[in-house]
Amino acid sequence: MELSAENTAIVLDSTADFPDASERFSNWRVVPLYVRFGADSYRDYVEIGPAEFYERLRTAEDLPTTSQPTPRDFQAAYDELAGYERIFALSVSARLSGTYESARQAASETGDRVRVIDTETASAAIAMLALAVQRRLERGTTDEEIDELVERFKRESGLVFTLDTLEFLARGGRIGRAAGWAGQLLHIKPILTLEDGEVLPLKRVRGNRKPIQEFAEAFRARTGDEPGLRVGIAHAEAEERMAALEKLVRDLRPNAEIEVATTLGPVVGTHAGPGTVGLFWFQD
């Protein structure tokens, strides 16, 4: 079957941090996760936006928690996209969230119309994969070509991020193999990545300028200055760092296109914490 933007839809979950997806592409939908302060539950980006979330985080007595969408939430999105013969549901790493399972459970009742893909990553990286899928849909593609794209994305796309503190990751149980770095007394900036869908520690540095230097080193080592180099940047209350990263990309790789620049939403922000900044890249 020939897949196109007319007959194929894309479903993201809100951890892709791409809230205006359905405004930009009529064949896209976003299924929100939930963020909970005490007894109050909010749909990510829909009922609470990043600005309000970080404001509330500052004063909250208990830190928020998050929960995955229900299968019913996904079912509703699939139903809404009734006019499409094929749906790709790109979910946040299954090792970080149960979202993938909800998406799959809902999909299992639709025959083979919905294909759920565990992106093994999070935030802007999911949006970048979705954009790569969309580019193929717009020129016409096949299931096989999408499969190859997803495999290559998992192999070749790059991601480094840093946090102000590992507390948020540790508390939410998403710290993965960086667990040994938690509870440090010195103010350490961890440089991390996601590998096989979970958090992997790369390096520890001290000082505010060091993380950006480390980002530059990793970015330079693993990319070339070619057209088609696509970059994403995401931050949580770290405008300055985001600006520094944008400059870094323009200086090092003038040919690169910054296709996603976003804040981390309430759900991702719950697990990463303020001060987080991430750099994503993919040659496509």
Binding site: G180, W181, L185, L186, H187, K203, G207, N208
Partner: protein, 508 residues
Amino acid sequence: MNELELARVAETALERSRARLDDLNVYPVPDGDTGTNMLLTVRAVREALEAGETDVAHAALLGARGNSGVILSQIIRGAVEGFEEDRSVATALRRGSDAAWAAVREPAEGTILTAIRELADEAESRRDDELPELLHALVARGDEAVAQTQEQLDVLRKAGVVDAGAAGLVEILRGISAHVSGEPLPEAVEGVALTTDAIHQEASRYRYCTGFVVEGENLDRDALERELEPLGDSLLVVGDATALKAHVHTDDPGSALRAGTAIGVLERVEIANMHLQSAQREERLTHSGADDRRTAVVAVVTGEGNRRLFESMGATGIVDGGETMNPSTEDVLLAIEDTKAPEAIVLANNDNVVLAARQAARLANVPVQVVPSSSLQAGLGAMLAYDPLADSEANARAMEDAGSAIAAGGVTVASRAVSMDGLRVERGAYLGLVGDEPVAGGTSFDTVAASVVDRLLAEPRDVLTLITGADEPELGPLLARVAEQHPDVELEVHPGGQPHYPLLVSAE
């Protein structure tokens, strides 16, 4: 004279000269403690022999403390092997000399190495002498060699002292010579009691490390010591008629405290459960998912706060010690074994610990790499690069690089008046160091600390870390000054609790 007798004579000789040997330290900070290290090394041999150990070389190896102790242990090993060869003093000394020279990476003339080689030369030229005459001649040659060390080493000439290790070796020989010929030893310099830090090094089978100060009138040090003696080991009672400081490892801290309250008012009571401390460390380990780790880190650290800093960075073996109290090879070896990791890194954190650490690395059953970090600050910097999943060689490379990127300094209190490179510092005054170099001195902590910080921040740096010592200085003025003059530098202050250095500083 059998081996045990020999060890006892050597121990007595070193006890008599320990204080003088310690005072020969080149630097005006309480550094090296050569006399203490040599004494504790020999004492470990004596204790092992009394406990039934027959392998003297092994006992010396495990008991070796500090660089001088390690070299001495090598001399002992070589001497034992040499003596077994042909029962001659000459061969024993020659083998001892060879073993000592081989043990040191960059051997220098003007040290204990020169002394042992010259003693071997002397003995070889007197193969027909009777033992008493030979020993007399060796002592004379040794004294000459010690006197010459001042001409051979620049640092010794500048400081006007002779080499402490060489002097210690000759003191052992002098004791043996006097014993053999039945002569009395020359009048000894007055001894000083071991510090609490030193006592803490010794492993204990008791549970509670108990310490207190008792204040009162007409306090009897010996009487308190007799009261505490039956309670445990590692006993230390020091002080005068108005205040005594006591320290004992015991299973019955209550009785120890009662012995104190019986004669005066207790102060500064400290009871630490030594077994619990290691149990807690183990528990932390299991909870941090450390099971799949390839390489563990053993760090030689002094001060409770510093211990916590290293543990929080992932070090799972902490050996108490540092500049003022060098751990023994055995201490390091036990810590390596305690980590139960397939490979290990040892962070020396002091130049005087490096040899003992290397010796422990050779003795260990698993691959061990020593990172010769020369300061606690460099060690912390090295910890940044520690990767539990990588092998010890990769870790050693990365950690050494990370550690050497740190600029380290500190403020200490001069243990005696010193004049170095035009800088005159009185005893008891603050002395500022950058690396090992004295850069400032005076009675104002703020002024001395400020010039250390200024030197460290002379080139652009991101983070300035201040680690306060057991004698915690008032940092307010210094912090205000740094914030004003170096607004871009991130400041961190941590309580380290190290002795002798009110402040350690690192810039990176």
